[in-house]
Symmetry: C3
Subunit: 430 residues, 3 copies
Amino acid sequence: MMNAADNELLVRTNAGTPMGEYFRRYWLPVALSKEMPAPDSAPIRVKVMGEELVAFRDTEGRVGLVEPRCAHRGSSLFFGRNEECGLRCVHHGWKYDVEGKCVDMPNVEPDAGMRGKISIKAYPTREFGELVWAYFGPREIMPELPQLEHGLLPASQRYVTKRLQQCNWAQSMDGAVDTAHFSFLHMPAPAFKSNSAANIAADEKRIGWLRQDPMPRFTILDHDVGFVVGGARKADGRDLYWRITQFMLPTHSITPSAMPGEVYYGYTWVPVDDESCWIYVYGWHPDRAITADERAKFDKGGYGQFAELGPGYLPLRNRSNDYLIDREEQKTLSFTGVRGIAEQDTLAQESQGVIADRTKEHLTATDIGVVHFRRLMIKEARALRDGREPAAAKLHESYRLRSGGAVLSSDLSFEEVMKKRFGSSTGKVS
Amino acid sequence: MMNAADNELLVRTNAGTPMGEYFRRYWLPVALSKEMPAPDSAPIRVKVMGEELVAFRDTEGRVGLVEPRCAHRGSSLFFGRNEECGLRCVHHGWKYDVEGKCVDMPNVEPDAGMRGKISIKAYPTREFGELVWAYFGPREIMPELPQLEHGLLPASQRYVTKRLQQCNWAQSMDGAVDTAHFSFLHMPAPAFKSNSAANIAADEKRIGWLRQDPMPRFTILDHDVGFVVGGARKADGRDLYWRITQFMLPTHSITPSAMPGEVYYGYTWVPVDDESCWIYVYGWHPDRAITADERAKFDKGGYGQFAELGPGYLPLRNRSNDYLIDREEQKTLSFTGVRGIAEQDTLAQESQGVIADRTKEHLTATDIGVVHFRRLMIKEARALRDGREPAAAKLHESYRLRSGGAVLSSDLSFEEVMKKRFGSSTGKVS
Amino acid sequence: MMNAADNELLVRTNAGTPMGEYFRRYWLPVALSKEMPAPDSAPIRVKVMGEELVAFRDTEGRVGLVEPRCAHRGSSLFFGRNEECGLRCVHHGWKYDVEGKCVDMPNVEPDAGMRGKISIKAYPTREFGELVWAYFGPREIMPELPQLEHGLLPASQRYVTKRLQQCNWAQSMDGAVDTAHFSFLHMPAPAFKSNSAANIAADEKRIGWLRQDPMPRFTILDHDVGFVVGGARKADGRDLYWRITQFMLPTHSITPSAMPGEVYYGYTWVPVDDESCWIYVYGWHPDRAITADERAKFDKGGYGQFAELGPGYLPLRNRSNDYLIDREEQKTLSFTGVRGIAEQDTLAQESQGVIADRTKEHLTATDIGVVHFRRLMIKEARALRDGREPAAAKLHESYRLRSGGAVLSSDLSFEEVMKKRFGSSTGKVS
């Protein structure tokens, strides 16, 4: 259980809030690269941590991220004409480059004093892993991009998308470090014996282990950019089925699903405002291309970490339609009656309220990952508020991490499991 | 005319308000029984007096009415799995019985201290007259269910439904004790001579009396659970056409329409919040079954007290579409141009505003029923606030009442009319 | 740049605000005459400067504009029956004439004291130029109707409509006195050479002058009911292309488009509330009828000053659908990618925000008309607040004005241009 002040500190990220300032020390994804597919393609609206912005790709392929109001009379630059290395307001033709500098004022005398002195707010951007990243913090301490593994690979070896979640970011992040819910939320209905249906999480063996042991034992190892948490369930014989999750500051996670040789999956959360967030979702394979068949399944959605998406990257099964819950399927097919692992997560997280009230919880031993995450975030945000800059923001190389599943002897400690499965105790890619 | 403070006292029923606390001394309908048609059928959302709840029928047919948040991490129990005598949260599997007790915690150690000690808020429920009733007050003074006549009869002799009204409960209740509006709101257009159209209230004779006498004389008789009000209009010769209405605390009414041998109709109002309410509507015949033909008409709606309903029991003709008013029909067919008695009432009541402002009224002699109702409610709510529990809540037998219409000699007093028409001066069924 | 207090003073027009009181010294259009096409036709809802009203045309053709609540019990008179020189409430039959007097109370005794003493709020109305005008100010100083030229002509010589704009009135009025935006907002795309497309503002010659000179020189002449502003651009040889606009207190304008012999166009803005406004739009020709072909084009919309309208006079291309901007057309056809001059204006104005924040502007020499308008409005509203009644309200004859375009020698002063083009330095019709 958390006090109300800590809950507020955790969830609020608008400019000026402690957590908001903390987030502003890190690069954050703000769009998919493909949302601005070509030079001079259409500008898009971007809203990040309560701030409304416009992004555009200029004639040379650079991405600008600027405030949407023209400095002249305030018309929206979203409707601007993206042309010849700048976004031109359609009202009287003022034009801005990707750094927000006003580079043309057709209705201003050539010798007027205001020429060359007008800028609108602009944030630095980078592209990495088919994501557009932006940095909202002080320029003098701007770090490098976090070297997430999917971004370091050839495009053929990754798949990147996003989806809109209609609740606060932190309760969705909670779900990522909580592998205990797998024993219910993503299970087939108790009466359901086969695993042939698309909305079942893993193969029959794993389903059996998850179902039989709803109380995994957790071990947490802190590292320099977050922590890795392992949840161990009884498997066959003396073996344990480990589900291992990475958490990287401020909002990155790698899922516990990948068994050796399988595709890895990661998430990054970015608040739209306090009541909704983007979840950037990526799959990657370090050793081979993502196949056409895999891409087709990811595109279609309702498959693994990928929701079935409608317009605006909003899942088709969402809060407004009760996730199309089918009460008959809930009796006979899946525990929730909702199709899709991602959609099931969304249901569980969004239904906690638009902003979850953590003061009324009754936490258990299996919530240890959640508790660890929350304490770390609050500690970090408070430290910054007290003048201590976050160390992790500078450690971009430390983000080359993996996590996933493993079935190994119960004689091994979690550190030994990590070394055996990933080659290092933290999951760092060597 | 009412002062603003009294208006506020009358209309507000959230927890902690004087009228809200008064309502919480009585059993109130919260759903139709058929909304949870079978053991382990789908849970439903219920909102009563501003409080959001979930109702479910368990494996043994009992109805639970509980707060919607799981005590563990707060996910909504509306999405819960209704199974084996309990509602199980789909997130981590905590399970609650109809009394709100957490009876299973799969992710908690068998010897953990929290086991057996966790409950969520739950309210007692009963079923009576095909309605699910709940009690929201102090358990130690919980009364019996009010013995409304329709609930005492075999199911074949009654018909029960509900509809959503998009305004405060009290202005809709106002309409029930005001028979004067019949001379306008439910009349054919002045030019319209026949009574063949479906949206006309009664037979040609009654229409004539109602139309010719827009100023009925009212008599009120108080009784132990409310009052009965008679409105007398000139009929043929020396006769009077009496329209007699029951009001029973806190929000029950029986309509003045039934002539001897006809079906009786009653209403119960239950606030969803201060800006909308449910109207439970029931028809019953003490002596015979409701016929298949009658049921078909009630089901279809736009007939007598029964509105034509769309999804969610919202009338098809509602505030959002101006009740599909047809201005040509308003000239030639009916006084309102809106089809359906229930819909006409809804128009008149909702158009007073979401919460009617009674400080600007100019009341007349024909508003005596309305005034009597309001004064009684305010007096009762103030009495409770001052520590005097409502007597009517305990008098469940006194709710076996009838009212309706009669055509009798003007020599008879209202008490004599009541005795002649219903066998007792209060309308009590013997 | 404006301070926040002045911005507030400029934009707010609800009762009790300085600008609201100022507006209430003038007659304002509140509906098109054709919205109430015949005696006893259906009442309509009208909302003006935050006040909700009902308008109806009575049996004798007079228009009533009254508060919508029946004085008896508050049901809405919008649903009233419009009959025999009055609007009758459908609830209990109280009836009101066009002056708001309650002329029938069927449920009140003939000798009751309240008879003849009940009124609801009503405002005086007039019809002029196919518009229904109302006056909301003190009766003792009620002026005459402003004698706008289109209202003085036979109906055959004018065309009148309206459209809903979803932003504050003042930023839309700003657009009317700013001819500089024509060089961008209404231009073909730079690559587009022909003027054959429907969404191009004028003929090829004018397009060329507008495009080549985005910095017109402005001259302003004050007159007794506002001011006339001329914007001069280089035309061929030594000629100037003048675009001349009238502004008349409080919210009338005549456009700068009409060349000699062409149709004139005017606008009047009326706030619905602070976040939306009606724009009444009229075209007229002093010397000939509007042709059937012209009327067909105006009816269809997306032509000149006439937007393509959907239900409720809301443009089909509006804020909710990003004006159906076509980014391909923005590259190849028009500067905005939005079809229709009126729609382009709407985009530019609405995108400044629901209420534009003038404290963040950077104004230029071409914003002189805008600045002049704002200063005048603020000065006038402050004067009234300080007890000085507006002089212009009494000068109804001074509203017979014209403006438009002219191509004349650069040797002529603006006054000489006005005399040559309109016969007087102010544009007054003699």
